[in-house]
């Protein structure tokens, strides 16, 4: 860490350091872009893990979490702040890390920070006629200012870019999302294959897709804003409602982040239960993904086969957690209830049956020549692009990028477990699909190791009645079903957080739709979407 510190001092002498769990650097806005470039090129921080918009009342700004994939996944935090609240402007890094494209649009949407040289500075979630920036601390939530509008959004195609010229002057340049003569097909928000209320606008030439514009926010619930007004135990239930197919992992992440801040030791029994639940969730999620991919390609029967086994997992959840979805199982310090007496028996039954069922899936769907033709060489995403767009999880591993958080930043008891990180080098939709199928086997392997090794003991640690986090910021990552899920908490010592940010994997996944769909056909757009396997509530937090 000190070595990095020295090198940063050389690059940017005015940088301010702060020691914490991760090296923290604050740079001034004018130096930011050059510093970012040096971080990426010289210090090899090639992965932009999180972009968190912030309102510190006296200033607005952004906190960037960067990771170096070549240097043992070392992380660094960079804070950039501007004091101007009327017209805050920060240089965009979307040309360095393409993942920042959508991330910065989200920050603009909620904090009103304009990013200089960003190619497409539109709001991401809210309507373009929304007044104010809702995550600012001085936001006026009066419903008269933003009534429920019953008319269509006008000027949907208008975009703007704040371009800086040679003298450092910034001027707004109008842009159009689509060309005048483009034939734009609207896919969603009500569409069978967008897996939720997602909307794509695809410019097509015949059947060939030229450009995809992602329009999001149809089910945005403002979870991050809501969290700021709640106590820590009250926030927990939100995580189950983001990526509902990674409910356990997401909640595990938030609990770990709070536990880390409190310095809480979680009992061994709770750790084992949490990891088992995480892996069951992963199996259930990948089974659903298998079913939906098959369904989107038109093979309806395979869909039901996937659901048949998923039902077994859901039954296990139902018995122990009392619910099949939104399980609300992890709590700060452990888990909420002890295991059902049938738990071990049911898990063993599942592990026993899965290998033969996987064979059946491969027989009915994977091996089918039509399925292979539909998925192979469709939606190519190179490893470099996967890193640049921060496509983690099975989709990233389908591009042969080793990015499993369970291996890179082992948390809970994962370091003790014997499992392999599944990699495929096809870089296409088929590779992503195959990673998921093989990950089911790995999850079964983890479950088999733990099912007879659940130690006795308490299921949660003693926690104070009123949970107050000390002042500071924490960031925790887990490997959710669809990629690396991160939780950022900034606390000012109160019983409710000053700022909570959820870095969801699906947000990044949808960011590559344009890149991966260009030049393919409308039918491929559906295949690519299915193979990336995004869950909409995870994008629309």
């Amino acid at each position: 860490m000190s070595d990095i510190k020295e090198r940063i001092r050389k690059i940017c002498p005015s940088a301010v350091f702060e020691d914490g769990e991760i090296l923290f650097v604050e740079v001034s806005e004018p130096e930011w872009y050059g510093f970012a470039k040096a971080l990426r090129d010289d210090l090899k921080f090639d992965l932009l893990s999180a972009v968190v918009g912030m309102d510190w009342k006296d200033s607005l700004g952004v906190v960037y979490y960067l990771t170096s994939t070549s240097r043992n996944w070392e992380m660094i935090v960079v804070k950039v702040a501007v004091a101007d609240r009327e017209n805050p402007m920060i240089h965009s890094v979307s040309d360095l890390w393409h993942v920042a494209n959508f991330q910065e649009r989200e920050v603009f949407d909620f904090y009103g920070i304009k990013f200089i040289n960003h190619p497409d500075m539109r709001r991401f979630f809210l309507r373009n006629d929304w007044v104010g920036y809702p995550l600012r601390k001085d936001y006026d939530a009066n419903p008269e200012i933003n009534p429920i509008r019953l008319t269509d959004e006008i000027n949907e195609d208008d975009s703007v870019s704040y371009v800086e010229d040679k003298d450092g002057k910034v001027k707004a340049v109008k842009k159009n999302v689509f060309e005048k003569e483009d034939y734009v097909v609207n896919i969603g928000p009500q569409h069978p294959s967008t897996h939720g209320v997602m909307r794509f606008r695809a410019a097509v030439d015949g059947e060939t897709v030229k450009k995809v514009d992602v329009v999001s926010g149809y089910i945005h619930r403002g979870i991050e804003k809501l969290s700021e007004g709640m106590t820590y135990p009250q926030i927990l239930h939100f995580t189950d409602r983001m990526d509902y197919m990674s409910a356990h992992q997401n909640r595990h992440c938030l609990c770990m982040c709070i536990e880390k801040a409190l310095g809480l030791e979680v009992p061994r029994r709770a750790q084992v239960i949490r990891v088992m639940m995480d892996e069951l969730m992963r199996i259930s999620s990948h089974l659903l993904s298998f079913g939906c991919t098959a369904m989107d390609l038109g093979a309806t029967t395979a869909f039901f086969y996937g659901f048949r086994e998923r039902e077994m997992v859901l039954d296990i959840f139902e018995k122990t957690c009392g619910a099949r979805m939104s399980m609300n199982y992890n709590v700060i310090g452990g888990v909420i209830a002890d295991l059902h007496p049938d738990f071990q028996k049911d898990v063993k039954a599942l592990i026993e049956i899965m290998p033969s069922r996987l064979k059946e899936y491969h027989k009915v769907f994977t091996g089918n020549v039509i399925a292979q033709n539909r998925m192979r060489n469709v939606g190519m995403l190179s490893k470099e692009d996967a890193v640049n767009y921060a496509i983690t999880g099975p989709s990233g591993r389908g591009s042969n990028w080793s990015c499993d958080c369970r291996k890179k930043h082992p948390y809970s008891i994962y370091a003790e477990l014997d499992f392999n990180e599944v990699l495929e080098d096809g870089c296409d939709s088929f590779a992503r699909y195959m990673v998921r199928m093989r990950e089911i086997e790995e999850s079964c392997k983890i479950l088999a190791q733990l099912v007879d090794q659940i130690p006795d003991g308490p299921i949660r640690a003693q926690v104070p009645k009123l949970i107050k986090l000390p002042e500071g910021r924490w960031y925790q990552q887990v490997e959710a079903s669809r990629g690396v899920f991160g939780v950022y908490i900034e606390s000012d010592g109160q019983k409710n957080p000053y700022r909570v940010h959820f870095q969801s994997p699906c947000f990044n996944l949808v960011g590559v739709m344009d890149l991966t769909c260009q030049g393919y056909m409308i039918a491929d757009l559906i295949t690519i979407g299915a193979a990336l396997d995004f869950v909409i509530p995870d994008i629309d937090r």
């Binding site: 034939y183 097909v185 609207n186 569409h191 069978p192 294959s193 059947e207 098959a294 369904m295 989107d296 390609l297 038109g298 093979a299 309806t300 029967t301 869909f303 039901f304 086969y305 048949r308 009915v364 769907f365 089918n368 039509i370 399925a371 033709n373 539909r374 056909m521 409308i522 039918a523 491929d524 757009l525 559906i526």
Partner: protein
């Protein structure tokens, strides 16, 4: 074997005995028209239930179970619901063509139904160019689909209609060539004569290699012709929500829906006519006892049984296979299926010329 011709000629004699010839013909036409439409509706209902039960079976489900015993009355309830639904008219549509399209589709399918050999003496239209007529009428259905897609003023329907046009025109070639292969073998296009020619063995056995190839080509092309999976691109519910009939409601949608199911029956019926003997029982030359036993099964049961069996295979395809992509589908037809059917036609000509058949 019972000849249904006895009933029909009795009815004809009864009418001509008590009224002038034109009046008798008029009444017969009306009676047959009503019968055809009734058969059409009932068969469509049966097919909807048939497919729902079959796919439920493939998918480890039960299918409809609530209305009537084993859900037998479900389809009647559905059809009643569709009949009472509002016909929604939309802004910006071509009103006349929008309303015309479903009728074109259903008319072509009803006319084809009338050409099928239902049983011995049970045939409505008996042309000397019978099978050719069926092929010609089947092409009218495409027009209805194209018009539906165009007149709806919707991008999904237009893409669906374009796909449909490309697909049906392409696969009609293979379908026609497969049928011509059998016409070449039989030496007739008359449907009745085609059936009688299979008295001493079905064409698929008599014509062996080229006939079996033609049968396989026919089944693939027929699946594509009826817009069923894996060739259901014009509808492609996961891409185009419902393809060319996205904007239709009520019975107008019902017409497309019924026509789709009936076309499945019709292509199966034609397959049974061209390859499996139509209503002709399974006869093996020399096995007289066996042939007698087969003759006891009524001809209409033979015909329906064969048609349902082929439909079963096509339904099986649909629920198992993923959907192909438009370019793959066209490449498959133009690069493989059509050259193959042409070669098969030549092969059949050689077999017929040299007498290498039974």
């Amino acid at each position: 074997m019972f000849d249904f011709g006895i009933w029909t000629s009795w009815f004809n004699n009864l009418l001509t005995g008590c009224m002038p010839g034109w009046a008798a013909t008029l009444i017969e036409c009306v009676v047959i028209g009503v019968l055809v439409l009734a058969t059409y509706a009932l068969l469509a209902l049966f097919y909807i239930l048939y497919e729902r039960k079959l796919c439920a079976w493939f998918q480890c489900r039960l299918g409809p179970m609530r209305v009537g015993k084993w859900g037998l009355l479900q389809v009647f309830a559905d059809m009643f619901k569709i009949l009472i639904k509002e016909l929604i008219s939309l802004k910006g549509t071509d009103k006349f063509l929008f309303k015309l399209a479903p009728y074109l589709v259903i008319t072509s399918s009803v006319v084809m139904l009338a050409c099928l050999p239902w049983g011995r003496g049970l045939q409505i239209i008996n042309y000397n160019i019978g099978i050719f007529f069926v092929l010609a009428v089947s092409s009218v259905g495409v027009l209805g689909i194209l018009l539906a897609g165009w007149s709806s003023n919707n991008k999904y329907t237009l893409i669906g209609a374009m796909r449909s046009g490309a697909q049906m025109v392409s696969y009609e070639l293979s379908l026609g060539l497969a049928i011509i292969t059998i016409v070449l073998f039989a030496g007739t296009m008359n449907i009745n004569e085609l059936v009688y020619a299979q008295n001493d063995g079905w064409f698929i056995f008599k014509g062996h290699i080229p006939a079996i190839i033609a049968f396989l080509i026919y089944v693939i092309a027929a699946t594509a012709e009826t817009n069923r999976g894996p060739f259901d691109l014009p509808e492609a519910e996961h891409e185009l929500t419902a393809g060319y009939h996205t904007e239709y409601s009520g019975i107008h949608f019902g017409f497309f829906y019924l026509a789709e199911y009936l076309n499945l029956f019709i292509v199966s019926g034609i397959a049974s006519l061209m390859f499996l003997g139509g209503w002709m029982p399974l006869h093996i030359p020399g096995w007289d006892g066996f042939n007698e036993v087969m003759n006891w099964i009524p001809s209409i049961v033979w015909f329906l049984g064969k048609a349902f069996f082929i439909s079963y295979v096509i339904i099986w395809f649909k629920w198992t296979f993923p959907r192909v992509r438009i370019d793959q589908m066209l490449a498959f037809e133009w690069k493989y299926l059509m050259p193959f059917s042409l070669a098969n036609l030549v092969l059949m000509a050689v077999f017929v010329a040299l007498g290498w058949h039974f």
